[in-house]
């Protein structure tokens, strides 16, 4: 059993560099430049439409819930509001962070900052954390966004289904930032020019949370907290459930996104909440392709990728036994077959010789 040290400031970081895992030589499916240019083309329309729908739904669910309270009918309305706040905002954070959702830059920026607030993710730290996730995807000691660490600890996963650990971490970081300090891991991947902006953001957010808490106390009502803050906990389950599928049970320390990412066909509601990140191999290999063109990219890349999972359930059927095995054997991982038309896997420098 190989011990895994996910600490970015520990020896695993240097080990990953020394073993040649920190490199630009990731595998990319060859795609004709004209086709790729068309796939990368931006438009404001899909993200504007989706953002209007999102905002209207959030207002409608929240107003509806407040109006029918204290009836039990408020419960599904709050849960629906919560999913849009605690899960849809994650994908908005993600896409706008890449700058690909909207063609107009300021629109990406505005939605990004709102989504960061909802998810309690500092806009600058998480920009750089995600940059690192794309550079060193699931490279142990380098990737700050490994959702399921090995050996798998089931209790941790259950707690995170309700955002407990992530929220505690987000609040802890916000408080530390508000006092004008950065954490050690952030110093490894965030450009220091952004530290002052991080401190300012944390102070503004703390003020918003204090005002929200004060409103709840003054009004003797849960409503302010159900609107701001708590949905990060009670609404994140969708983000977590689909997020685990991104890399769960697959290889780590490889240089081919076909080995460490999973593409899963999903229902239209999940795809709206998730902004098509179910096409995850495609996204990692070509991050400049906006979410609304990922289905087209998927068709172009199909010949070179392992078969996608047919549904969320199918993805879990594949992933859960692997996660269960990883409780005891952190080296265990899935290796899916490639179609005959595909180029061979690019395993990277740590590949075992018998693997093709």
């Amino acid at each position: 059993m190989t011990f895994r040290d996910y600490n970015l400031t520990g020896p695993a970081n240097a080990r990953a560099i020394a073993s040649g895992l920190v490199t630009e030589s990731w595998y990319r499916t060859p795609i004709d430049r004209k086709v790729m240019k068309a796939l990368m083309k931006r438009s404001d329309h899909p993200a504007t439409r989706d953002t209007i729908i999102l905002v209207v739904l959030m207002i409608a669910f929240a107003v509806g819930a407040i109006v029918v309270m204290p009836s039990w009918w408020a419960l599904p309305l709050w849960l629906a509001y919560g999913v849009l706040y605690g899960s849809a905002m994650d994908s908005r954070w993600h896409e706008c962070g890449h700058g690909t959702a909207f063609k107009t830059r300021w629109k990406n920026t505005v939605v990004y900052h709102i989504a960061c607030f909802c998810m309690i993710r500092d806009p600058y730290c998480w920009k750089y954390s995600h940059v690192r996730h794309h550079s060193d995807t699931i490279i142990v000691g380098r990737d700050p966004e490994v959702a399921i660490m090995r050996p798998v600890v089931v209790v941790k996963m259950i707690l995170n289904l309700f955002g407990v650990l992530d929220t505690i971490d987000g609040v802890k970081r916000m408080v530390i930032h508000a006092t004008g300090r950065m954490l050690d891991d952030e110093q490894d991947y965030v450009d220091p020019v952004f530290f002052p902006k991080t401190y300012r953001t944390a102070r503004v957010w703390m003020m918003i949370y204090i005002v929200t808490g004060a409103a709840a106390i003054t009004l003797q009502s849960w409503v302010p907290l159900l609107l701001i803050g708590l949905p990060r906990l009670y609404g994140c389950w969708h983000m977590v459930l689909v997020g685990w599928l991104q890399h769960g049970g697959l290889a780590d320390n490889v240089l081919d996104h076909r080995l460490n990412c999973r593409t899963v066909y999903m229902n239209p509601i999940s795809r709206f909440i998730y902004w098509n990140m179910n096409y995850h191999v495609e996204h990692h290999m070509f991050p400049l392709v906006p979410y609304y063109r990922l289905p087209e990219l998927h068709e172009v890349c199909k010949f070179d990728f392992p078969a996608p999972n047919r549904s969320i359930l199918d993805g879990y059927r594949e992933m859960l036994p692997a996660l269960w095995a990883q409780r005891k054997d952190p080296d265990f991982h899935l290796r899916r077959g490639l179609p005959t038309t595909a180029h061979p896997y690019h395993n990277g420098p740590l590949a075992e010789p018998q693997l093709s």
């Binding site: 240019k37 700058g99 750089y128 940059v131 450009d191």
Partner: protein, 103 residues
């Protein structure tokens, strides 16, 4: 000493697009903007060793294919993070149907 090098034909680069241009042991990009102006900059992103020729050209900017830093091709200036360093730019001229760069 810098000299004018025949880099490509004007038609080798589509409108609002980019091609890679290697010269000696160096790599550059030739960018054509939406108004048929041509620019030459370093070919590798200043953030990590990624070829900008795989990126996205919008008007006279190029966006890195890896982490989306945007560079102004007229000045080389970086407009969005994570890159912090500007690109070097090189003079270009069009003569007949050829694009020349001074490198």
């Amino acid at each position: 000493m810098a000299q004018w090098i025949d880099a490509c034909s004007v038609d080798d680069v589509d409108e609002e697009d980019v091609i890679r241009f290697d010269h000696g042991d160096r790599t550059f990009i030739i960018v054509r903007d939406h108004e048929d102006n041509y620019y030459c900059t370093d070919g590798m992103c200043t953030h990590e060793d990624v070829h900008l020729a795989d990126g996205l050209v919008v008007e006279a900017t190029i966006e890195c294919p890896k982490h989306s830093s945007i560079f102004d091709c007229t000045t080389g200036e970086v407009e969005t993070p994570p890159a912090c360093e500007n690109l070097c730019t090189y003079p270009t001229k069009v003569e007949g149907d050829r694009v020349f760069v001074e490198i």
